[in-house]
């Protein structure tokens, strides 16, 4: 392994600026790493659904030319990045982890992708995810699961397991993720990486294939808090094409991270959310959490316990609002204009084609949520389900407002457990959903959150995450607190947590026996005479 790839994006940016390395060299090193460890649906990390070596190298050459001319486009110009497959990329397939979009190449870039390109970051490829971002394990990808670099028999979290695993396995220094109920933060926690869900409206959603529009947010996936801050400043800001984006200047996140890393948190009030602990919370996760809280106290923060009584209803509300919005968002996948088309035999009507395509193209979790959402929005049930869920949402926002009257930030473990085994919760949706207990409230209220590695749980030696939540538009606090904690933890560990991850130099070695978690490809197509893709 080329040691270059273990450096943070900020460090790589300095090396590029100093002319000590080229972007081509750096990009090639990451492509080599991908070739070495990523494998495929059956073995390896499988963080990527599509690797664009030629495109990335071409962008790297252009970056080197800019550097050579003394005109870098951005601090990160030339630092490669991976992009979650839910973001539209011109010329690169965008499948959202779904068979129904297999082969679809968007004619436009998501705003965040356009910003990343304009800043000169070579795009390595598109990362794996649960189908349409529905899941907490990336096992619901239509293209096979991603595996946790810490233990290839375990899940990397979800839905953005691909982005987190790519960063954790040094396949990419940076990645873009999306977070609807924890899809950036929970994978960050279980892979020992950093993930940020910005304030709702802080980053443009234009070109993000919506799961639940009122909850989705694009954010950074990195190995350090500072890297997230740099990437967040790059992708953030108002976009007139996203009506829900906030027309405010981007915050000084890098400055906040640098301040935090200096270590002094005096004057900061931290609230520990009392509802996010107790039964079902893994002791090793809680131990690392308690230690981290103690480190904040040592840094000068005042810590109090804060109650957010309505958080107990968050999961229920979330699993009505999300499916409701998703059921409508996913209606467009009907074979009429793009994506998969399955034409039944005989003389099928347009509706027959739609039905057959959706039956073949969507996985079980997607179908489950479409059914729930359709039901929740139905006449006669709307008030009892969708309406009631929106009222819970208001109550949760009030809990946050009341809490932030008392404290500057709220903290909790990011996820109740460390990474579970692939296949372990596939047949138990509720158990899977419980994994997002701590992350969901932030999405319901639109507040920002970060997950920072807090150490390894004693029971299984797997990473745990520490979550910081801040008021709307106070994302800078995430970076200040996150960087302060990170600095103290790294010092205590004597180096980054990821240094303790087992090597990945022999792909596939630990994978025996896991093929059973995958459905036979194409099995759901039985009975349909033809399938075709439309670009």
């Amino acid at each position: 392994m080329n040691d270059l790839i273990k450096k943070s994006a900020a460090e790589l940016a300095e090396l590029l600026a100093a002319g000590e390395i080229t972007s081509v060299e750096l990009t090639q090193a990451h492509l080599d790493r991908i070739a070495e460890v990523d494998g495929d649906a059956d073995s390896g990390v499988h963080a990527f659904l599509h690797v664009d070596a030629d495109g990335a190298l071409a962008q790297a050459r252009a970056s080197d030319a800019r550097r050579g001319a003394g005109q870098p486009a951005h601090r990160l110009d030339g630092v490669p990045i991976a992009v979650k497959d839910v973001l539209a990329t011109t010329g690169l397939p965008t499948t959202c982890g779904s068979k129904i979009l297999q082969g679809w190449v968007p004619p436009y870039d998501a705003t965040v992708v356009a910003k990343v390109k304009a800043a000169g970051l070579p795009i390595l490829g598109k990362t794996n995810m649960d189908e349409f971002a529905m899941g907490s394990s990336t096992e619901h990808s239509g293209y096979g699961p991603t595996r946790n670099p810490w233990d290839l028999t375990r899940i990397p979290g979800g839905s953005g397991g691909g982005s987190a695993a790519a960063v954790a396995s040094y396949e990419a220094p940076l990645a873009l993720g999306t977070d609807t109920g924890g899809s950036i933060r929970q994978p960050g926690a279980v892979t020992g990486t950093v993930g940020v869900k910005p304030t709702y409206g802080g980053v443009s959603r234009y070109g993000l294939v919506a799961l639940a529009n009122s909850l989705d947010q694009v954010g950074p996936v990195t190995r350090t808090v500072l890297d997230s801050a740099v990437l967040h400043e790059l992708i953030g800001g108002h976009d007139r094409r996203d009506s829900t984006s906030i027309d405010q200047p981007v915050g000084a996140y890098v400055q906040a991270a640098e301040q935090g890393a200096a270590g002094d948190l005096s004057g900061l009030k931290v609230g520990v959310i009392s509802e996010l602990a107790g039964d079902g919370w893994q002791p090793g996760v809680m131990s690392r959490f308690d230690e981290s809280v103690q480190l904040l106290v040592e840094a000068g923060a005042e810590v109090v316990e804060v109650s957010c009584p309505n958080f107990v209803h968050a999961l229920a509300a979330y699993y009505l609002i999300l499916p409701a919005e998703a059921s409508s968002n996913l209606a467009k996948f009907d074979a009429m204009r793009y994506g998969l088309r399955v034409t039944p035999e005989g003389n099928p009507s347009a509706e027959d084609v739609m039905r057959a395509t959706r039956d073949a193209g969507f996985g079980d979790e997607v179908k489950r949520r479409i059914i729930i959402g359709t039901y929740a929005l139905s006449s006669g049930y709307y008030d009892a389900y969708y309406g009631q869920a929106q009222r819970v949402r208001t109550l949760i926002a009030r809990d946050f407002a009341a809490a932030f009257e008392q404290v500057d930030v709220l903290v909790s473990p990011t996820a109740p457990t460390t990474a579970f085994k692939l296949g372990e919760k596939l047949d138990d949706p509720m158990a899977m959903y419980m994994n997002d207990l701590a992350t969901i409230p932030a999405n319901l209220a639109g507040v920002p959150g970060i997950s920072v590695p807090s150490g390894l749980a004693d029971e299984d030696g797997l990473p745990a995450g520490f979550q910081v939540l801040a008021p709307v538009l106070a994302d800078d606090r995430l970076y200040r607190v996150g960087a302060a904690l990170e600095a103290r933890l790294v010092k205590a560990w004597g180096g980054p947590l990821l240094d303790r991850a087992p090597g990945l130099d022999t792909p596939g070695s630990s994978l025996a026996g896991h093929s059973t978690t995958e459905a036979a490809p194409g099995s759901s197509l039985a009975g349909h005479s033809t399938t075709e893709e439309m670009a």
């Binding site: 993000l208 009506s243 409508s328």
Partner: protein, 498 residues
Amino acid sequence: MNTANLLGFDEVLERFDPALGLEVHVELHTATKMFCGCPTTFGGEPNSQVCPVCLGLPGAMPAVNVKAVESAIRIGLALNCQIAEWCRFARKNYFYPDMPKNFQTSQYDEPICFDGYMDVDVDGETFRVEIERAHMEEDTGKSSHIGGATGRIHGADYSLVDYNRAGIPLIEIVTRPITGAGDKAPAVARAYVAQLRDLIVALDVSDARMDQGSIRADVNLSLAPKGQDTLGTRTETKNVNSLRSVERAVRFEMQRHGAILADGGSILQETRHWHEDTGITTSGREKSDAEDYRYFPEPDLVPVAPSREWVEELRGTLPENPTVKRARLQAEWGFSDLEMRDTVGAGALLLVEATIAAGASAQSARKWWLGELARRANDTDTSIDALGVTPADVAAVQQLVDAKTINDKLARKVFEGLYAGEGTPAEIVEKRGLAVVSDEGALSTAVDVAIAANPDIADKIRDGKVAAAGALIGAVMKEMRGQADAGRVRELILEKLS
């Protein structure tokens, strides 16, 4: 195809009270679409005016066209509506290939305009039509079903979809049930749509062309037993696309409902298709399950909250109230009540106004639009504003008549030329050789010939029976193939026989 039994119109009215409801879709002529920057021009190459947003591509997001909101508010104010201080868009979910997202971005329980009215004049009587709401939404694409007998999706060999229309802003204006119109129900429906169209034209927010679908009316009708204060089961007849058809569709449905109810049957709540050619409606899809559109607020858009200052500013841009305007024009033009009513009824008010503005006298403008042009519209089943004749053309024709270049009879031939698109009135006169013969020599000869051929009549005129001159004038005009000034002919005859 017409298997419906109809009850006589008078009998319907003896036994039932009709209730009307009208839903009118107005396509705005904003430069760009409701939620994206694509142009809205009519008639472009199929699928040439589309982008990721109006094609509903994965990841694309809508952004509201402020100009469309402005038009919606102006329409609402002109209809005496309240303007919401805060309202949202909602998704109307249903699957159809011409809907790129399989939901239509519309408004549901929070329309931007609500609780208004319009006073409609029919035969000198005023009916107040209450407006329940006017809301914003996007149009769908346009499907063409190729093959099959009906031109509808069932039975077609294949279908083509043009998404140029998808996302064009629409304002849907919905009335409350209109009761108490009795035998005037068909006329009230027509007059409401005609007045609404005139209002839309005056507001300059739409092309307002029913023949191009920029105004589309859905007609709801139900009958209740006479004298009972209830509403019967309604049918909704979709896309009735001319004023005349609105009137006919109401009449037809009244008679059809009447026959079913008189027979002891019950009305099926359903959508019906209007057939312009045969003047009947046929069953569309049933609405018995009250299609569940699963409306919910559009999460990709923020609420629309027009400030009161803006609303008042827009109120200041409203054109003259149509009722007030009609009274003013009637006084200015010196029209009798009957003349005014006919003008409005023919949907020719704005056309007459524009013709007068182009230089014609009020009576001549009225004469052409309500005579020649209304007849032509009726004969060809065309909307009066879609004949290919503009107010400027009519004024130009009248100018030729006033200049004695042509007479009324020749003017009708000029109109024929205009229908056929042969050019301007002056060009048509030239090309068709329609000018009145003003050569006194030729006229004089023709008069002499006529006198010689009709000695009895000539004698009568010599005896002072001037009225007999008409027969000689006719003979001369026939001889001249109509291309003579009848007044001058009369003068010549009287001169020669005095």
